[in-house]
Assembly symmetry: C2
Homo-oligomer: 282 residues x 2
Amino acid sequence: MKLLQKNRCFEGEQRVYQVESQHLKGASKVGVYLPPAALEGKACSALFYLAGLTCTEETFAIKAHAQRMAARLSLILITPDTSPRGDEVAQGDHWDIGQGAGFYLNATQQPWAEHYQMESYLVDELYAQVLHEFPIIENQVGIFGHSMGGHGALTLAFKYPEQFRSVSAFAPICAPSICPWGEKAFSQYLGDDRQTWLAHDASALVQQKGQMFEEILIDQGMDDQFYSQLNPEAFKQACLDASQPITLRLHKGYDHGYYFIQSFMDDHLQFHAIQLEKVGDM
Amino acid sequence: MKLLQKNRCFEGEQRVYQVESQHLKGASKVGVYLPPAALEGKACSALFYLAGLTCTEETFAIKAHAQRMAARLSLILITPDTSPRGDEVAQGDHWDIGQGAGFYLNATQQPWAEHYQMESYLVDELYAQVLHEFPIIENQVGIFGHSMGGHGALTLAFKYPEQFRSVSAFAPICAPSICPWGEKAFSQYLGDDRQTWLAHDASALVQQKGQMFEEILIDQGMDDQFYSQLNPEAFKQACLDASQPITLRLHKGYDHGYYFIQSFMDDHLQFHAIQLEKVGDM
């Protein structure tokens, strides 16, 4: 991991690294917040945060206002980019597909399959690299995200529960198989066989896998301009059917953006810290 | 004031307004954070925050991470743009002059004098408008800022202490008459007579005016890449000479950017809340 930038922040450091990814066949940037404890070499819990459409590895660090509480709770924050990047990487026709819109899965269709392997990049490659590079407690890694990144967090958590021991989301795309964003992305990345989509659909996954986590926290703004893309009620019902405990909080007046996310960020960090400590106690 | 945008944030609202300014001869945007108490119509203290070179009315709202504590302390936050804007407004040859670099003064020289009247815009025009528009306690308004905006906050506070009852700054340009940024801006905006510059130089002003505030808080990063432009020691010495109490905190490892600012934002908001409460008790 090549260090590109570092800035002192709440007695820790906000950093940006570049990773040479074999899965993505190219360089990818990743933001890393190291709390003071990590700078002192103490072992910390870590969280992956997956951002939404159009975002980059930088969005979270600037807009989510997480560093203060992460410093206090000694949480390392890992914020990858939202897709492969570069001139040789296929572009989309709109901001909901292609660069900035990788959907955290492995594409099987052309022109995407060559570089769009975000799932393997995150779970196999980046995960191992950050555990090697930073003082992370091996079984105390959680995952959360926003919108497309909320979809990513929920699906990767249910597919790789040994790697991600806690999960939460802000306004996640909960049932991508049945919303316009998801139908467009899945048909292009995965092809027309809707059966293959279900392995990347949080609501289908929880029904298939059953309870995996002691608790899931989801926050959703009730004035979210993209509410029709998100289907939080479908996911909640799937959790209830599967006996997966879930707390879905609906917030009056809040929309889809980072002013919403920052308002409830501390709650999510505290949620993960508590869940991961419980894992540590097992 | 025309409302352009609002987003729910920490149970308050982050808003953007457009103001038709007679002084600037054009429209200017301003960010306003209203804490929950203000939305309920309760009278609140207010702070003007002046941003630095290249920033806009939006920078603070996104990057300074102030809304959480402002909500808790019931502080209204007013964040004007850093210069007049528009096709008809003179451009500079570099990011340290012209649009995005108004230096919070009234230009007397061409081509700047026509629109670059930020001091009058802020003190006469915007100040009256926000007091009319929002539930602000009249004698509980403070001012703070960063870099060029720290210069603006310090100078406007000492020139208009009846309007600004508390003042603080992050990495302010403390002696613009003797630093490259200030010399360039002042010679272009104010002309070559250095005597006229002193009315816009915080270190000169405090020597001239003497104690005006119970306390001034300044935070400065020791790894600030623009340290040579800022001269905090000169201002501290001027305060000591003038018996103006000052707390200048030097922070190891911090640079000039918003990761530094956000790390100490809560301290500044609490400082102003305490100072303004004292004024209210008089």
